[in-house]
Symmetry: D2
Subunit: 369 residues, 4 copies
């Protein structure tokens, strides 16, 4: 059985043919009537929709760097000028990617922000379905209570406030403190799955060294409480990953594979899966003068520097790196990191989402791909 070759069409859907067709007035009128019918019926012709299916991803977000000192200065101004309200607000400065036309998101999928809490301040408890993490770039002295379990925060610590857990922040000390928040808010908003709730409970007022979560799950690698099934909901029951442990893990890898970039992935100790179902957290260490491979992958990423200096190339941009800088890496932009000194870089990405949905793709690039 043979299938005949069809005539080509232009974008407007008119048949290409002899000159007689170009003057086929009734056909034009019928097309116009059809398109009017489309509008009335809330349908659109695929052939009138360019750019839906592109050869490779074309993110609107752009590679970008937010300067640590500028962020710190603005956070300090906000600490002076913008009190924490009793209504549940936070003193948060959101990194808004210049490509996203005013949306307060660092990338298409990630919210990244600096949060500042002055001495004696408290950000009251609430919960929401967007999941959050806190990465401490410096200082100490704030406790984040997660479902009423108070977790202390110090430089280099990763603290989780998973989806729909109540969380409040309190600075009972005498020094201001600032940290980086990352949320999956753009994802949850896109999926029309945002819920928010404030509790009617008294604030948490205990400030222990180790949270209950750490007492139960933080003993050591591979050591789990007997008969405990984990937290469920695809998230880790361990709420704090301490810098001392992270440092030990990174230095072990550097000792094992000298001269190469070491990387650890923060995981749920009950499953080895990512700490939360939407956010992959990683920490990279580049020894002095080391270079990472250059690679790209689907999904976006936010980087921040904990220690050291160097630079990062993202797509066609190269940014200098210093402690506290925040970098946006949009999807499918090739990325490479180079260290001047020993460089510790924290990374949050949506890679776990891409993997769960069968959309993860990754490749190593040549230097000038």
């Amino acid at each position: 059985m043979s299938v005949e070759q069809q005539d080509d069409v232009d974008g407007d859907g008119m048949t290409k043919g002899g000159s007689s067709q170009k003057c086929d007035v009734p056909a034009v009128r019928r097309l116009e009537a059809m398109y009017a019918g489309f509008r009335d019926a809330d349908v659109q012709g695929l052939w009138t929709l360019p750019g839906l299916l592109t050869p490779v991803p074309t993110p609107r977000a752009v590679p970008h760097r937010w300067d640590a000192r500028l962020l710190a200065d603005l956070a300090a101004q906000a600490r002076d000028l913008v009190p924490i309200s009793a209504g549940g607000d936070r003193r948060v400065l959101a990194c808004a990617n210049p490509g996203l036309q005013g949306q307060p998101y660092a990338t298409n999928t990630l919210w990244a922000a600096v949060q500042a809490l002055g001495p004696g301040e408290r950000a009251p408890a609430h919960r929401h379905t967007p999941a959050a993490l806190r990465f401490v770039l410096g200082g100490a002295g704030v406790w984040t209570a997660v479902d009423r379990d108070p977790v202390s925060m110090s430089a280099g610590d990763l603290v989780l406030t998973p989806s729909w857990t109540f969380h409040e922040h309190c600075n009972p000390g005498s020094e201001p403190m600032t940290w980086l928040d990352v949320l999956d808010l753009p994802i949850v908003a896109f999926l029309d799955a945002v819920f928010f709730e404030s509790p009617e409970t008294a604030p948490v007022t205990a400030y222990p060294d180790r949270s209950d979560s750490e007492l139960s799950f933080g003993g050591g690698p591979g050591l789990l409480p007997v008969d405990h099934p984990g937290a469920g909901a695809g998230r880790s029951p361990l709420l704090a990953y301490r810098w001392a442990d992270t440092e030990r893990a990174l230095s072990g890898l550097v000792e094992r594979f000298p001269g190469r970039m070491a990387g650890i992935r923060f995981s749920d100790p009950h499953t080895g899966r990512d700490v939360m179902p939407t956010l992959r957290c990683e920490m990279f260490r580049l020894p002095s003068r080391a270079r990472s491979p250059r690679w790209r992958q689907t999904g976006s990423r936010v980087l921040t520097v904990l220690h050291g200096t160097g630079h990062v190339t993202v797509g066609a941009e190269t940014f200098r790196l210093a402690p506290g800088d925040v970098i946006a890496v949009p999807s499918w932009n090739a990325m490479a990191i180079e260290a001047d000194t020993t460089l510790d870089v924290f990374s949050v990405s949506d890679a776990v989402v891409l993997e769960a949905l069968g959309l993860s793709r990754r490749e190593t690039c040549g230097d000038h791909d």
Copy 2:
């Protein structure tokens, strides 16, 4: 240790206080300077961003019904007026939800469209990372070749073209045929993970009754080829779910639980998981005069009617249902179906995405919730 209660703030971030503060010109200027600094630094204050965290989801997409006869009429017009181009296009009419301001999507996450192929026409092969399915509302006579395995299509059949599989459609017969396409395109586009590619291969010209996929995986419930691990990538190796099987499954459930809505979920026979990692496919049968529960859940859904009449309530809207109608159900809108005659309704949703990301929430509603 005590933490002092903080002053409230307005949305603009100014402190509420005595009248003296209202005239505090230097503070106002400092605020203005700070906000200017925000703009220069590409940051935004959370307190200036209302509506980010809502008590419940607030979808932009609205409940909507596309009328079967209108879709059929427009598809027939397009069949006459818009030839299939040699460049890879399809003759596709996308359902554009009126709430989405011109986006050609049925809901926030789902593309739904009518595709028409006339006698002797062929839609040439291509592949893309967005996953697609075809649900045949009537007729027969088209083959969809998936990675060169030709799959016949008849009324009531569900045919898969999973992410990144080559697919082409061919109508070697003498009758036009129309079917419903559903894609996860909005999700893949949101994630900046769209890839597209056209092959340089000859068209498939075999039109067997049963595809290789069915010969291998379609024998019966729970019967798998020995030593076959499945298709991988979170998707089913079985590419066609035939109406005869679906009918048998639905009538079994109706016999088991008389008078109640029966529902089957199309699954990967190797895992029992959904047919593709982003799309849940289900078929519901309501016996004559039966009513479904009224429930709502996070995530969106597209319904279409295969057989029978009745009506569906979505949020505050009630739509009559007849064969071929297409219905959009946005997230968290309560839904209930009522049958006049025996009613067979096909459903596609993003529930599998919400579940994978820990964002699935579902509740039964009273009649007037």
Copy 3:
């Protein structure tokens, strides 16, 4: 740092050395005293235990064939002479592997037996932790009620009575019927996990064509009831795999790969995993004159012939195959099947146990390995 080479020892643990040592009476006495101490303390020296760790498996069970006609004749005699007792007994003839020194097991891990039920007879309900399956070699007319769901039995059907489900067999018709039982009893007994219980319930007296289990789960490949999580406990909720479906699956595979042995694995439709956590069930079809590969694997297997003739080689033995024959295949014995006519062979193995415990090993063998 250097570690000195040690003296060799004999199996008896005495040092090998010069002739002076052979006369070292005190050493001998000390050894004797030590071994006496071993006995008193209930310990044994590894060096006195030959054969614990062998280069390859050394099964005690031997390749064996039980002849169909002989089994049928003995079952008929038992039907005449041994009534079903009211105490819970079954009229069961267990295949006892000649290598197992009187144990009533077909292999180290599998119980295989012929069970016969005359017209009007009933084997009353009980349950036990050993899991069982019934494979019908011929005839029809018995129902097996599983947790009170009556499942009809006909030639070629596979019926499950999973661990700890109540089951009773009833023959309400006028013809005797015989089938093959396979249980994991040796495994459960080895693990000291046998529990047994008789209920105090009235017998099941309904004899429907399709069981509730089939109405819910037997619709077709990949079709699952909505919102149903499966049976749990690692076992299938589908209790009967009908020959009509199995035949369709086998003929599809033969059409797909002509001339080759086709094999299907019976699986839990909710997970694709084996039907029960200890027993893998498979059905092989060899077209006339076809030969299987020759392979061996860890774990044991019981085969029985449903249709056709041929022969099977197991280790160094070759057995003719005819309908109803039962074959024992011990671990790591190479196996190959050859068909005279179209040959349908049912297989039960413990492969799923070996896989779960990381002990599965499999290799293709040359013709004379």
Copy 4:
């Protein structure tokens, strides 16, 4: 349809009936002929096999305690009298459960043994499919190389030599050292899956503080090397669980739940599953004077004491506990532990096997159940 009540039978299968039947000589002869036929055909009547299906498990192994000082004394004698052979032997004293009639197994499923290595001695490399672990009850100074990665051993450490990994032990120091071996050998032997092999490689002669395995996987709780999928084969890539970590985990749990028995399960950090697919390893700490619940479960267990004193009740037996004692707990024997001083008890069980096969059953018992 009615099913007639059947006559009862005795265990010998003879029909019970009137006295006339007792003299039914032809029937007796037919029975005798049938049983002769059974013997010839290698079948056995189920009704002649008492005790196959018992109400609850009836383990042959008995509760037993091997005294630490006795084991140490015998190990010292063996160290003097039994050299390590060059042929691959180990100096191992296997605990032989008195109920197992001479089998060198601690329980039905577990091999437990004391292994001793004198100064300068080496047990050469080999591998086998039975999986092993080493638990160090005291001392230090031996390295176990696993697939050529040398792992140091000190008191309280758990060291894994998973199935089919090459392993050798070397004592390069000046002190003898003794530890406890536990293997799944009875399970692997029962399944006819024992393979054994000696390599032709030079001995490992490096004695680092931290193994490569620990450098890569031992950083801290939930910290995994980026892009590393784990070891596969259902076993942990982390080969050593150090006492310092275990102690931290136990003291965290005791702080979290004061006065109660704390327990940790050693797990694969990539999956949270047990360290090996056949052996569950746990460590329990009872604060001074604390009592565990009394419970029983299917599957067997070997306990050993690391620190402290107390006693344990197993079934009807009560044993005093001191460091180095080894206790066998057969299946379904109720067990309770009571501490005099702070008591640290290491436990190995086959619970992971019972769970994988759907045979796990557990219940808390009253004091005199």
